[in-house]
């Protein structure tokens, strides 16, 4: 299906701001400090909670000595498993957007991982709380931890649950036959390390009890999820819990789960009978809020001399915790990306004494596409075929997994546009064939793909008697631009300028939206906002048509259009009136429209994915092994682009994270003690500004009506997919050294000599 066929018919309604690079409507609040994050809501009588983490990674607590801690002035409570209130477990419900990791805190003396919360201290001031926490003495029975995937591989086991909705072992066709028929093979192991999300804003919770009612301010991707978890944990009705989150300072998946500090904040507030503020430390975030699991991936590709894939095998290991199961679904995209009759996927888990891993930006695709797209690159060299050509030879015209047609797929355009923008034609095919002075130069590419995930969601739109409008939903702005994009969607339908629309989100008192994860928010909530805006406008139109004093009295609804805050006849703009006039005359304060977006995915007729092509140029210092990304082009088909600026920023953020993944990000676990060695931003390296070149991002024009009523396919995650592989492939092209274990650090590249 081409872009043209899918273009949205031009609308006469609205000011047409959708797609425009509107500056963030919350930008001023952000830069002036007016945007209030979870830890920034003041309360009278606020007390402070500090969490104490285990200093061992495996074993049991023998006992606590809290005598010195209790003597610190201002201490209100020291809660351990010996005196904690009973907290009920919350059932994991993937349909509700819950991740794993629901071990109930402080209910037993068992230690599963280093940094696990073993006590909460509450005191009048933060300093008193920290002091008391530092004085709590703990004795342990320590056992050696399982902290090395390599050492534990003998205990690998099949996941109990599914892997991204599919069985852990799947076969399409027969890969043995396929490999036997192959002229050329790639058979390699690829490894990705544990990585952490590291949003700027730490996880933070303020809990305020009023009898059996709980108000909770939380840094989250899912306000209703927090509400559900707290209601279950404390055995109160859901309607007794209100969760508020006006801004989230980055999340990337780690704020999609209600981790145990949230219930501990609420428990602390209940025990201390005070509002309690709990802000976690960066170190605690490394231990307790999930991470991208380490993977070891075996990829086997078989192909004919012409490059046609005859078999794909994608199998391997990832780690989970000893008390819970999370599968990093690295084989997810391999099911559907390339046309190949013979495909086998298999995933196994190794349990380690670490906190449970979780979703991190494009879980599955990010690790898996590093392996698959590196293997494709290796195959291209073996076949002496251009890497883009190899991908075109295996281009899937329908989904090879589900056999469904694509809703829309502009991947060929992504390759073509990307190659043009990037200057792919300049690339000499042989590795180590390009130089920039003394530096080795390399160009590499990779495909990006991410599925459409949309969730049922609700929104309300109220057109006010002053002619403005209010948009409401419980959804979240993770720094992604939700406020801005929802404003634009409402403006388009209501025919109002952005300054006349106010978006209110992040509160369970508002209509329910699901977790802001899986790149779903704009598709899901945006569609509801459009529906609610249409419903509100229809009521306004009815009010005008029914009013004998209105210039629109008696006109048929389909003859009336809305623009610039007015209703008027399509045929005669002079015959009309402002919203304000319509409502004032009718004596109405407002008209309200609500909309619940439902997606019928049980009877799917299309396979829906966002696509992209990533191109990286690197410059490698032959003497020191330093890799610098000098240029990067990413071209994406994310369906309709709701805001060119925030959309491009999403892609850029993903690409930067991908550069970090390729070259520096790695959480190091001490395999003897089970401690995280580099649990701070001084030693866990993410790219600095100077590491990031000018990023050339192109968003193709498309409208995917099957993905969502507003035509969007999701933008949050696809930017990182394939970015690390593009860099890795460029490094190979520059140096002739294939590093299959991320990150590509200087020492791995240089080995024992020099590249010169």
């Amino acid at each position: 299906m081409s872009a043209k066929q899918n273009q949205r018919p031009a609308s006469k309604q609205g000011s047409g701001v959708v797609g425009q690079p509107l500056n963030r409507v919350d930008g001023r609040l952000k830069v002036t400090g007016g945007a209030r994050f979870a830890a920034e809501f003041p309360h009278d009588q606020m007390a402070y909670a500090v969490l104490i983490g285990s200093t061992i990674a495996n074993g049991r607590i023998k006992g606590f000595d809290t005598s010195a801690a209790k003597r610190v002035p201002g201490v209100l409570a020291i809660i351990t498993h010996e005196n904690a209130p009973k907290l009920r477990p919350v059932a994991t419900n993937p349909a509700e957007g819950d991740a794993a990791g629901r071990r109930v805190p402080l209910q037993s003396p068992v230690i599963y991982y280093h940094g696990q919360y073993i006590a909460v201290v509450v005191a009048e001031t933060l300093e008193q709380t920290q002091q008391a926490a530092a004085l709590v003495r703990v004795s342990y029975d320590e056992q050696p931890p399982a902290a090395d995937m390599e050492r534990e591989r003998g205990k690998a086991y099949p996941p109990k649950g599914k892997v991204a909705g599919k069985p852990a072992d799947t076969m399409r066709g027969n890969t043995d036959t396929g490999l036997a028929a192959a002229n050329v093979r790639v058979d390699e192991i690829y490894r990705t390390p544990t990585e952490h999300h590291n949003p700027m804003e730490p996880h933070a919770t303020i809990a305020v009890w009023d009898g059996d009612k709980l108000t909770i301010y939380d840094a989250t991707q899912y306000t209703y999820g927090v509400r559900h978890a707290m209601a279950t944990t404390f055995g109160v009705p859901e309607e007794n819990v209100r969760c508020i989150c006006k801004f989230t300072g980055g999340a990337f998946g780690c704020k999609g789960t209600v981790w145990s500090h949230v219930s501990l904040a609420a428990a602390a507030a209940r025990v201390a009978r005070r509002p309690v503020k709990l802000v976690t430390t960066r170190q605690q975030m490394f231990s307790n809020m999930g991470h991208r699991a380490e993977t070891e991936q075996h990829v086997v590709l078989g192909a004919t001399r012409a490059g046609k894939l005859t078999a794909i095998v994608h199998e391997g290991l990832s780690h989970t915790s000893t008390f819970d199961e999370y599968v990093e679904p690295f084989s997810k995209a391999t099911h559907m990306l390339y046309a190949c009759d013979n495909f086998k996927a298999s995933q196994r888990l190794v349990a380690l004494n670490v906190g449970t891993p979780t979703y991190m930006r494009a879980p599955g695709e990010t690790s898996g596409m590093f392996a698959l797209e590196s293997a494709l690159d290796e195959l291209a060299y073996k076949l002496n075929l251009d890497p883009i050509q190899l991908r075109l030879v295996n281009y899937a015209d329908t989904d090879p997994d589900t056999k469904l047609p694509w809703s829309t797929k502009l991947l060929k355009e992504c390759y073509r546009t990307g190659a043009e923008h990037f200057g792919w034609a300049r690339r000499k095919p042989a590795p180590r064939s390009m130089r920039d002075g003394r530096y080795l130069l390399g160009l590499g590419m990779a495909t990006a793909v991410y599925p459409v995930n949309h969730f049922p969601s609700s929104a309300r739109v109220r057109i006010q008697s002053d002619g403005s409008a209010i948009v409401e939903s419980s959804t979240h702005d993770l720094g992604t631009g939700t406020y801005t994009v929802l404003t634009q969607i409402a403006c388009e339908t209501l025919g109002l300028p952005p300054e006349r629309v106010e978006v209110i989100i992040g509160d369970t008192n508002l209509p329910k939206a699901m977790v802001s994860g899986g790149s779903s928010t704009v598709m899901s909530v945006g569609s509801s906002v459009q529906g609610a805006a249409r419903a509100a406008l229809a009521k306004l139109v009815e009010t005008a048509r029914a009013d004998t004093r209105s210039p629109l009295y008696g006109a048929s609804a389909d003859q009336i259009v809305a623009s610039d805050g007015r209703l008027a006849l399509k045929s005669n703009d002079a015959r009309g009136e402002t919203y304000r006039d319509t409502l004032a005359r009718a004596g109405m304060k407002e008209v309200e429209g609500s909309y619940d977006t439902e997606f019928n995915d049980k009877e799917k007729k299309f396979s829906s994915h966002a696509f992209g092509a990533q191109f990286a140029e690197v410059r490698v210092d032959p003497d020191f092994g330093e890799v610098r990304v000098t240029r990067f082009t990413g071209v994406f088909d994310i369906g309709r682009v709701m805001n060119m600026k925030t959309g491009q920023s999403q892609m850029k953020g993903g690409i930067i994270m991908g550069i970090g993944m390729a070259l520096m990000e790695e959480t190091v676990l001490d395999t003897n003690s089970g401690r995280l060695v580099n649990r701070d931003l001084a030693e866990y390296h993410v790219p600095v500004h100077a590491d990031v070149p000018q990023l050339d991002v192109v968003l193709l024009e498309n409208f995917d009506e099957h993905a969502s009523p507003i035509g969007a396919k999701g933008a949050g995650e696809i930017g990182i997919v394939g970015a690390a592989a593009a860099v890795a492939n460029a490094v190979y092209h520059a140096t002739g050294v294939r590093v299959r274990e991320l990150p590509i650090t200087l020492d791995k590249l240089l080995g024992k000599g020099a590249l010169a």
């Binding site: 002091q131 030693e683 240089l750 080995g751």
Partner: protein
């Protein structure tokens, strides 16, 4: 976890004399606190075991860059930003400016001091290799008097220093004999800024009639202390730069340093890159 602030004592003496008197009265009881860029990190992590500190940040005797005929004297409180801005430093001691530019971010450069970088005694610090190349001397003062010590003799082991508990590092003296050195500074790291170096290399040399008349080589992150590689220097002196010399120098350098495997890199990598840095320096020296 962050340390409890009331457990700590910070005094701000009115003058250098008062500061020295306090240090003398309770030897080992008080430690100097300058820009705080290292100490505050420890405080935040709850790892600052010493409890009594002497703020010297405001003492005028420890500030300023003085240019005399035969040397430049830097107060121990000279910040990385001041090093980068000073005209004489830029002209005659470019290695220090290069090191200062690569140290931390802007905020750290505004607050961190050269004296602090020296007495924090990290083998991975950025400015010490440059100071070694310039044959810096340290002025150490106590109530007992003043002594001048070649910086090369200051670090005696990992975090061990030739410094008494009643002494303060007050000034750093650089002889003005190196303005004509061809210099080379390179910090090798994972990313372009704000990374502790895997290997840091500072060098200077003077050619005379196609031969190396003077050469100074210093490295960071390759031994328990920053090191000046005198044996390699010895080997290079009076030599022409050719393949054989370079090879011999590389081999000698690799015996003079003792890098380790750690989270930031491997011993192998550090050895090889140190040698490659030397080769790169010699290559550039030959072509200038």
């Amino acid at each position: 976890m962050r340390a409890y602030l009331p457990d700590y004592e910070l005094r701000a003496p009115r003058s250098l004399t008062d500061a020295l008197a306090l240090l003398a009265r309770e030897p080992g009881g008080w430690r100097a606190f300058a820009g705080g860029t290292d100490l505050m990190v420890l405080l935040e992590a709850g790892l600052l075991t010493h409890r009594k500190f002497l703020s010297i940040w405001h003492l005028p005797e420890l500030k300023g860059i003085e240019v005399a005929n035969d040397h430049v004297t830097l107060g121990a409180l000279t910040t990385y930003t001041e090093v980068q801005r000073d005209e004489t430093m830029r002209r005659e001691f470019p290695l220090l400016g290069a090191a200062a530019r690569e140290t931390g971010g802007i905020a750290i450069q505004n607050r961190g001091t050269l004296g602090g970088n020296i007495v924090n005694a990290s083998p991975a610090a950025d400015s010490p290799p440059a100071l070694l190349v310039y044959d810096a001397e340290l002025e150490l003062v106590s109530t007992r008097g003043t002594r001048l010590l070649p910086y090369r003799e200051f670090h005696t082991g990992y975090k061990q220093m030739n410094m008494q508990s009643d002494e303060l590092l007050t000034r750093i003296r650089l002889p003005r004999t190196t303005g004509d050195l061809k210099t080379y500074y390179r910090k090798v790291g994972t990313r372009k800024a704000q990374a502790i170096s895997k290997v840091c290399f500072a060098a200077g040399a003077r050619m005379n009639d196609g031969r190396i008349a003077d050469v100074r080589l210093a490295l960071g992150s390759v031994a328990p202390t920053v090191v000046r590689c005198t044996q390699t220097e010895e080997l290079l002196r009076n030599q022409t730069i050719d393949e054989a010399t370079t090879k011999a120098a590389r081999e000698m350098l690799m015996t003079e340093i003792t890098p380790i495997d750690d989270m930031r890199s491997t011993a192998d990598y550090r050895l090889n890159v140190a040698a490659n840095l030397l080769a790169d320096f010699l290559r550039q020296l030959k072509h200038t």
